[in-house]
């Protein structure tokens, strides 16, 4: 009030001591309800609003926490199971595969004895699979195992003779898994004589004599093997080349043969 004459403390005091008339509670309730309806909310106290905030978020937060917990537990369980896969030997369809199979299924004592006699003083590391076959946890390990399983079963029966028949390369080489065989790749055309010989030997379950005499099989890449076969052909050792080629086809049925060897 700008004019001091229009304010009287004594009068103000007397007026404040008058009965404090207030609206009845039911009128209060009606007005507040109307006000809340107008803005689409129910009347409630501030405390109730704070409570309702908590109750409104309780369910979503609980669900979110449950989902996070479930996902975390699932990941933990999978992580615990993964080492079992990692510790399993990884099979890759390379010349080193038989060596891996030795780890998984130890040969019979008789076969082991025969192998020792054949291999002689070859150091164990030389017979070991190259780096790709080491029991390490590569990302593709899980996928490689099932893909190689049928081949694994077939090779298990031939494992020991193969070990003996393979010529020893200069050094083992780590090779990636060869590509899948092309359906257009023709089967290798071996010389008729060698083919007959091979079929006979296979029927008898024996190794070719020359293969038996060759150095113990160690890991080598298909490319190296192909080069070896070419070298044999270039030297005029067609029979040896045919035998090697037949063995190569048996070990790497999925490997597309070069045109010069496919004929």
């Amino acid at each position: 009030m700008s004019d001091p004459d229009l304010r009287d403390p004594h009068l103000d005091q007397a007026y404040r001591e008058l009965p404090g008339d207030e609206p009845p509670p039911e009128v209060d309730e009606r007005i507040r309800a109307a006000a809340h309806r107008a803005v689409g909310a129910r009347p409630q106290s501030l405390e109730a609003r704070q409570r309702s905030w908590a109750s409104r978020w309780r369910v979503p937060l609980s669900l979110a926490a449950t989902v996070v917990l479930a996902v975390t537990l699932t990941v933990m369980v999978l992580e615990e199971e993964r080492p079992a896969f990692r510790s399993a030997p990884v099979f890759a369809p390379t010349p080193s595969a038989p060596t891996i199979l030795e780890d998984r299924a130890p040969p019979s004592p008789a076969a082991e004895e025969a192998k020792r006699a054949d291999t002689g003083p070859t150091p164990a590391p030389a017979r070991r699979a190259p780096a790709s076959a080491e029991p390490q946890p590569p990302p593709a390990a899980d996928a490689a195992v099932p893909a190689a399983t049928p081949q694994l079963q077939k090779l298990e029966t031939r494992q020991q003779p193969l070990e003996e028949s393979r010529p020893a390369p200069a050094a083992p080489a780590a090779t990636p898994a060869p590509p899948k065989p092309s359906p257009l790749a023709a089967p290798p055309a071996t010389p008729s004589g060698a083919s007959d010989s091979l079929s006979r030997e296979r029927a008898a379950g024996e190794r070719p004599a020359r293969a038996m005499r060759s150095a113990p099989q160690v890991a080598r890449s298909p490319e190296e093997w192909i080069e070896e076969i070419r070298r044999l052909k270039a030297q005029g050792r067609d029979a040896d080349a045919a035998a090697e080629l037949a063995e190569f086809r048996r070990r790497h049925p999925e490997y597309p043969l070069p045109v010069d060897l496919a004929r």
Partner: protein, 186 residues
């Protein structure tokens, strides 16, 4: 005056849809508005009806609220207009009767009987004096006391110029002061 958000901020919040802002505003001003109406309407029932109408009008008009003036000026303007409608509809002079409000209910915290009696007598005299005021003077005084409005604001609410409002208020206060001093003189 209450602390926290201003009346204007609360009204803007309510206009934006925050219902709790209305609750705060209502808690602040329900008593003043009700007494302003109660001491002019003539009956408790009429005052309750007017009171409810005033707040419902405020709710309906929330979308057009702009804080160009004090919220209480806007609120008591709505109350004044509703009261004028009431007077016109009832074709009744704004003579307020406090017969249903015994003065015995007045002071509850009075320690001494003679003091209590004196206060009750003062309250009775004051209420009688307010009731005896001309409607315009009474309204100016009630707007000053219940709405804590300035002269300019009283003028704005009642639709008169500042000097008219000042004159009404000055006359009202002089009569009330005289009534309060009357026992001293006798």
């Amino acid at each position: 005056m209450a602390t926290g958000p201003s009346d204007e901020e609360l009204m803007l919040a309510y206009r934006a849809g925050e219902a709790s802002a209305f609750d705060a505003l209502y808690a602040r001003h329900r008593g003043g508005v009700f007494r302003y109406l109660r001491r002019q309407a003539g009956s408790a029932a009429a005052a309750e009806e007017l009171f409810q109408d005033v707040w419902l009008r405020l709710i309906d008009a929330r979308g057009s609220y702009e804080p160009r003036a004090k919220f209480t000026t806007w609120l008591f303007t709505i109350a004044h207009n509703r009261l004028m409608d009431h007077f016109r509809a009832r074709a009744r002079a704004a003579l307020v009767s406090y017969d249903d409000h015994p003065i015995d209910d007045v002071a509850a915290d009075t320690p001494r009987p003679d003091e209590s009696l004196a206060r009750k007598q003062d309250a009775a005299r004051l209420l009688g004096a307010i009731d005896a005021l001309p409607a315009a003077q009474r309204e100016a005084f009630l707007l000053q006391q219940e709405g804590e409005l300035s002269l300019e604001e009283i003028a704005a609410v009642t639709g008169v110029n500042r000097e008219t409002a000042k004159s009404r208020l000055r006359y009202a206060m002089a009569k009330l002061r005289a009534e309060l001093r009357e026992p001293e003189r006798t």
